[in-house]
Symmetry: C3
Subunit: 354 residues, 3 copies
């Protein structure tokens, strides 16, 4: 049994990437074809003709329907077969699954479970998105050759930044600063303040700190696999408290992880910041820096994934920094079990960044 949470919204694509072309993407192991109706609404259908299993995505879009490229069977936006060339009767088994979609934050979100439960309000909130003084970079994508929970482990783990990201966002000052963990019903927060530390390379470049800083890393993980890193720094003379965060450099780095298969993950990301909000040059620098940073993660996680697959073992010792990752894995297990057992899983309507 796979460890996918199905009753959840996953980013399937960026809005800009779905149009009047058939686009195929595998999500939670299922092949799905995406396109837009003539009125612009996005559609997601099972990408597998029920006849011989040819991918519908190699067929043609005919109006709002998809015509299979093998024998011309045609399916409408709900997945019902509307035509079988050469016969008038459509067999009851001639249908494909359709998936609920919602567009938000320039992304197309897909609901992989019971359509009756697909509530758009359950989509995570991205703070400051679209607010004046805050710049947004979105539309970014990486393909990770690794299980999505290895990535969520990493995304609530501030400790790795010192070693994996020493060239980008890491700093040696954080090596021995412990991480605190708070847990909600459907979210985990791992966080720390590193006080009176030298500004990391990013701060030196983007800010004008004259001395040491108090910097913070707040790693949120919302079920099933949305990561938000609230990251920034303020003058060391300011108290390291929530209220002061906006007085320095601050960014929210959102990573939307969508399992592709048991060993690969779609990694969509967007970034909201309070510095140089309308500066396209800084946008480009953010893309470059974050891509470099996430690629550093990818490189180490790919090696970890390979070794885990080779040995069938995920870890041989557990450390203090594994507190948050372990909570997330238990939370996922609990939700998957609840879904598969048809019982009601936990729910936290109030999930979101503090």
């Amino acid at each position: 049994m796979s460890d996918y949470i199905r009753n959840a919204w996953y980013v399937a694509a960026w809005t800009k990437d779905i149009g009047r072309q058939l686009v195929s993407r595998r999500i939670l192991g299922e092949p799905i074809v995406f396109y837009r109706r003539e009125d612009g609404a996005p559609v997601a259908l099972e990408d597998s003709c029920p006849h011989k299993l040819a991918p519908l995505s190699v067929g043609e879009l005919v109006g709002d329907e998809v015509q299979c490229g093998y024998h011309g069977m045609t399916f409408n936006c709900s997945g019902a077969c509307t035509r079988v060339p050469g016969q008038t009767k459509v067999p009851p088994s001639a249908k494909v699954r359709s998936y609920p979609l919602v567009e938000r934050y320039n992304a197309v979100w897909i609901w992989m479970g019971d359509a009756a439960l697909a509530d758009p309000d359950a989509i995570v909130d991205v703070p400051r998105y679209g607010e004046s003084g805050w710049g947004v970079v979105d539309g970014q994508y990486l393909h990770f050759p690794t299980h999505y929970l290895n990535i969520t482990d990493n995304l609530v783990d501030p400790a790795h930044t010192t070693y994996v990201h020493k060239k980008t966002i890491g700093g040696a000052g954080g090596e021995d600063v412990g991480v605190k963990v708070e847990q909600g019903d459907r979210q985990v927060l791992a966080y720390r303040w590193i006080k009176d530390d030298e500004p990391v390379p990013l701060f030196k470049k983007m800010g004008n700190f004259s001395g040491p800083v108090n910097r913070w890393q707040y790693y949120y993980l919302f079920m099933p696999s949305v990561s938000c890193v609230d990251f920034g720094g303020i003058d060391a003379e300011l108290e390291p408290v929530e209220e002061n965060k906006d007085r320095g450099l601050r960014s929210y780095s959102f990573n939307f992880l969508t399992p592709e298969t048991e060993s690969t993950t779609h990694y969509f990301w967007l970034h909201v910041r309070n510095y140089h909000a309308d500066d396209a040059k800084v946008d480009a620098e953010v893309v470059e820096l974050m891509t470099l940073t996430f690629t550093e993660d990818l490189d180490i996680l790919e090696l970890v994934q390979k070794e885990q697959e080779r040995t069938g073992i995920r870890e041989r010792t557990r450390l203090g920094i594994d507190n948050a990752p372990a909570r997330i894995r238990r939370m996922v297990e609990r939700l998957v079990a609840a879904e598969q057992g048809q019982t009601e899983g936990p729910r936290d309507d109030a999930q979101g960044v503090a």
Copy 2:
């Protein structure tokens, strides 16, 4: 248990491709080495030295015998070991299998089953081959990454041509014209006449039709996996009957499918036509057109094969057009079961194009 029919003739190679070199090819999963004796007769031996399993095909041809490239064990045309360097006694287990071969239609045919049953008269008849006024293109080969029965499905399925071959031999006029099926003991025929239709691109190019045509598609499948497509068109004013077929453009397209493995197939083809019989330029056009057409089949079948392998499912719904394919699969199952149960399978000496 694989679904190969063993007591049958398969095309192993084109005559031109077997000579005084060792050539290796896998057939029904078995590695086989081919060469010609000094007198020109073709030979087929198991391509696996019984000593350490080195392929004999990387050894040398010494007169009419094959010498292994590892330790020099030598085998004659019947597969008997004639020499073990360094010892005088040849162990009884030192032998390889030899296979009956027949050359016909410029092809080398191999019998994969019980040699005692290998009757050359059982090789399929190619009508008009070598007759005056009929042109032949042969020697053609494609490698299909798909199970051979997915290809036979396709070759008794006129309906796919409208969608898969719209650029070549398909025409929209055929979309809703049903297919009739007739069955013999060892053959299936699926056919239809499409009446009063616009000439397909091929007819426009090769014929001089001034108006609409009656065109036909007769798809024969002879056990185990020889396909013959009798294809052509006549003026729409002529009755759509067998007797009139030679009054228009007509061709016999033979496809000899030889399973390589459970998921790959050798696809040999030849083509007999009654137009521009001695025109080398048209020969080249036939090669180009048919290769393009079969590659269109290959492209969709490769996707179907991959999806079937991924899911372990071959189809989720069955249509009217699956009548002939289903008959063939049942016929194959029946013949395989008969062979494996050592009972007498069905036999139809009269098989052939009407």
Copy 3:
């Protein structure tokens, strides 16, 4: 259960290839990281951090210790964890295996079994190594895509040279000359003299024989997988006896086989000769010739390996020349069983070239 002998010295690397960089190599299926301490002593540790299984080899060397590139866990030369950033307590499970190493013959030897049994005196003796009048070529490496016992089969099998190495060290004169076999407790010797034969190409190039030669092939195999070929030729007028061997061209070709995985092998080799001892040009020629020769072996063994893997069969007939290979395989099985059963295996302190 794999058929590795663990209580044995294997060449892990050439001395020149281990330094102040982290080098990763898999041996007996285990990932191992190699480096040198600041005092020059070589170190071998399990290349897998116990935390998340990241390879330590992508981390950093810090003094004499290795720091993991993921979270900075640090291990000393004995594999003990000396630091976990962010916490003061080191969990008992936070350790990696370390392996005994010895440097000899410009190679780094590793002991893969019980460290308490690692006796440097058990390393095989290379005769004439470093003696005046004898030239040495070492530092050579090939990667074989084949099980190590398929290579040992080949290295006590003079018969294959006639067919596999006809361009290099083989000669047709040896085709029908039988091989004698002698066995010790931990070694097998297969040998033959080929008398009154034409000098092989190598002899013609390196020696000044005016007529036919008596030439010998002595193939030693020392447990677990060290091969020594004592190879040479003398004037045919000299008696073909041990005492006369140094009166002609003589070489010892050592092949140190180290299993990488069940289907791949590290192939280290060195070569000791009594001709043109100090001639760098001849050194280069030896490298070229031996590399060519071993690549001929690799080519045929790769095919054998693939066919054995495809069929699950290793041989279908057994010949007289399989005497020595069969003895070695039985000896390996016996030693592996002894190790795994915790009983005392056979031991021959006196193993070595005659």
